[in-house]
Symmetry: C2
Subunit: 134 residues, 2 copies
């Protein structure tokens, strides 16, 4: 398995570990958007959310909550973003599921994507017919 | 409770429901970044990840996985972003925990935040001392 995150988990590549349990590892992103930017990953290799089991997703969510609280308390910031990119078209570079936890401060210059392409006529209904889960 | 998402859950405000179970509701964002942009929320009011229980986070994660798959299959897109904003400084507007699932297509013009402020000297170690969870 030539996966850089699996090598980090195995200790073959060093990392700054923020949190670890049986299922999950969290470590500092070496290319941070803001200092303290942490990656939370499952220890078993899965490519993305769709390959993850419910147990993995549950353990990841709990770890994200712990890391988020620690970032707020430890760095004295008021909030953070949690992001996960599924597929290269969405900006996923490492094909091992990872959640970003990004500390935020007022005036840090980061902006969320703006709304665009509001629904006209029956567009929302048309979309819903395609994706609704019954 | 003057929460717009609680009113959507209660049916007092209409929505385009993508998915629903005992714990979770998913519906189209009325101000989509891309068409099909869906919000996944817990039915019980919690402000953010830190207020959510493990059971809520687990059910949200499973619902996100379902919605993501449905978006890919239904809209024929190759990927999606999952984002969650904790705190107004992070861009959270509605104080009811919600995860965005945003369909992505090549050439849609959306860009992730670039890395910046790489760690120099002992900066990464200094951060780690502040946020490491033992």
């Amino acid at each position: 398995m030539d996966c850089i995150f699996c090598k980090i988990i195995a200790g073959q590549i060093p990392s700054h570990k923020v949190y670890e349990d049986d299922q999950v590892l969290a470590f500092l992103d070496i290319n941070p958007v803001n200092h303290g930017h942490t990656l939370v990953i499952p220890k078993s290799h899965v490519g993305d959310i769709e390959e993850a089991t419910g147990e993995q997703l549950s353990s990841l969510a709990l770890a994200i909550k712990k890391v988020g609280r620690s970032i707020k308390e430890g760095l004295g910031v008021e909030g953070y973003n949690v992001t996960e990119n599924n597929g290269s078209v969405a900006g996923q570079i490492i094909p091992h599921l990872h959640f970003h936890v990004i500390p935020r401060q007022a005036g840090d210059g980061l902006k969320l994507w703006p709304p665009r392409g509001n629904y006209q006529g029956t567009e929302a209904e048309d979309i819903l017919q395609k994706i609704k889960i019954n």
